[in-house]
Subunit: 106 residues, 2 copies
């Protein structure tokens, strides 16, 4: 992927501060509850909900209700596509890192 493509490869659902943060957190933690997002991101329920909904509508994440003995929680995970997109982005940035390091040690 060339640097030029960065712009066209990713849509604006993916490339927004809060949502990319959500995806990043999900990539590391695999399963995150609504409440966890609320604590990490802050802001209103509505804002968090809307971002999560957009990520769901965009096919990046999926939600599941988890029924524990004491409570019902909604948890979110990356879809295959969501994981793939994030890895693509990471991979792209990695090539930049590697190239920069090569330049420095020349």
């Amino acid at each position: 992927m060339s640097g030029d493509d960065l712009y066209t490869q990713f849509d604006s659902t993916f490339f927004e501060k809060t949502r990319l943060s959500m995806i990043t957190i999900l990539y590391r933690e695999e399963k995150v509850s609504f409440n966890r997002f609320k604590n990490v991101i802050g802001g209103s329920d509505g804002a968090i909900y809307t971002h999560l909904k957009k990520l769901i509508d965009g096919g990046y994440i999926k939600s599941k209700k988890e029924i524990a003995s004491d409570s019902v929680q909604t948890v979110y995970t990356l879809t295959g596509q969501g994981k793939k997109m994030f890895q693509k982005y990471l991979g792209f940035l990695e090539t930049i890192l590697v190239r920069k390091k090569e330049e420095e040690t020349k």
Copy 2:
């Protein structure tokens, strides 16, 4: 840096699709003209100009008029702060990559 901080560490000037693309391109190419951005990003002059202006106002990039024998061009480069912020972001994502790889080979 923990994943949670991603959201708070970077402002929304930095974390917007077009502008982060611009920063990414500048990190690789060091010096980019207005026209080059126009070709890469596409869209109207006004849109490109506004994004560049926001990056300048935010202290991420700086502009310079370059007078060649045949034409005058405005070229853009990262400021020290801009470079630092991007490296911080790359560094953060790198730790995610490394950790994931460690997990995979466990």
